[in-house]
């Protein structure tokens, strides 16, 4: 049995891992990948110490730092369930089952789906949630970026350079992303912004060939081969049952990263922490490791 299991290898989980390793707590870090959502970030300009760094580069630096320590890293695991079992916790993944006295949940968030007909059928057949990965495949083609927030506008900026035409589809009356991004986009000649519009359906044969929108009770069809979805995210909190969550499904924590279950801590984007940022998640991860080790010292 471990003293602690960290679930998730994004900024919060990696920082918690580095802190626990330095405290010589016996722990495992169970995760699908090292980097989490950072892997999908284009450019990062607000992580202190780096004026500009791409998400994958920052994730690589995080991984190098973590691997300085000889830790029990279980990569490629999809965690299915975290539950209390007597005085301990059980973490069950697709590859095994592990026990610990304390758990730190750092499972982050995943992209929100559109939930429209055609979305499942055309996933990876024109629809992508990772523009950083698949964006270049749409070079010279027409694409729709769904979502006019910061992530959507950043993806649109990336795509206007390589695509034939880029549509930005926004549900609200106006784009919600930062003005500086919208201004940069306005310089592009191959961009069309469609606001007050909802995606109703994605169609095609083997691959995407178009999107039907609903705009003021009317249907509007656009011909595109790519649909890049950037409409926000939802917390990966379903793996923990019986824990207090807010209306968004985020795990409720106090300022010491404690949850409603003693011995179970949570850090980063999966929680109700104010604002989801890499630098905030790192700080929360650090707090959770200190909190868990104090818990082990006093109550473990």
């Amino acid at each position: 049995m471990y003293e602690t299991i960290i679930v998730g290898g994004g900024p919060a989980g990696i920082t918690a891992g580095i802190y626990l390793a330095r405290k010589k707590v016996s722990f495992a870090l169970i995760t699908m990948d090292i980097g989490g959502q950072t892997l999908g970030s284009g450019g990062i300009e607000n992580y202190i110490g780096h004026q500009y760094i791409t998400g994958p580069e920052l994730a690589e630096k995080f991984a190098l730092h973590l691997k300085e320590f000889n830790i029990d890293l279980k990569e490629g695991h999809e965690v299915k369930e975290i539950k209390k079992d007597g005085s301990a916790f059980v973490v069950r993944s697709d590859k095994g089952q592990y026990r610990a006295k304390t758990v730190i949940v750092c499972t982050g968030r995943k992209p929100k789906n559109l939930d429209v007909p055609g979305e499942k059928e055309f996933y990876n057949r024109g629809i992508t949630y990772c523009a950083t990965c698949d964006g270049p495949l749409f070079a010279g083609k027409k694409v729709a970026v769904v979502g006019g927030g910061n992530s959507g506008l950043e993806v649109a900026l990336q795509m206007v350079r390589i695509a034939e035409k880029v549509y930005v589809i926004e549900l609200k009356e106006n784009l919600t992303g930062d003005r500086i991004l919208a201004d940069k986009l306005n310089e592009a000649g191959n961009l069309e912004i469609i606001t007050s519009a909802a995606v109703a359906r994605i169609h095609g044969d083997k691959f995407v060939s178009g999107v039907s929108l609903r705009k003021s009770e009317k249907q509007l069809d656009i011909q595109v081969e790519g649909v890049l979805v950037e409409i926000g995210s939802i917390p990966n909190s379903h793996v923990v049952e019986g824990i207090e969550k807010n209306g968004f499904g985020e795990i409720i924590i106090n300022c010491g990263t404690e949850t409603s279950i003693p011995g179970l801590f949570a850090a980063g984007d999966v929680t109700n922490v104010f604002k989801k940022q890499i630098i905030i998640a790192c700080g929360e991860g650090a707090k959770s490791a200190i909190a868990a080790s104090e818990y082990l010292y006093f109550k473990g």
Binding site: D33, G35, L39, G40, G42, T54, G55, P56, A59, E75, G76, N124, R125, G126, T128, C130, T132, C133, D134, G135, P136, L137, A139, G140, I162, K206, F207
Partner: protein, 79 residues
């Protein structure tokens, strides 16, 4: 034993593609790398082979692996 022929279809920005290549490098597996963001012929070849448009795609002598599936790569290569 001769190493199986490995082809990696990737984009220059995709983090999972980088992970695949680092993993192959670490295991001293040589491979051909195609940038499907710029090479349209190879992009179409990847779509034909895998029936989809997500990267990375790894072709190990006809066995197609989509995404960074470490276990599947290890098993197919016998490493």
């Amino acid at each position: 034993m001769e190493q199986k022929k490995v082809q990696v279809y990737a984009t220059s920005t995709c983090p999972y593609c980088k992970m695949v290549k680092s993993f192959l490098d670490e295991n001293k597996v040589s491979y051909e790398n195609f940038d499907v963001g710029t090479d349209i012929g190879k992009r179409n070849e990847m779509i034909d082979k895998s029936g989809q448009m997500g990267v990375p795609v790894i072709d190990i002598e006809g066995k197609i692996i989509i995404g960074f599936d470490k276990e599947a790569i290890k098993e197919t290569l016998g490493i």
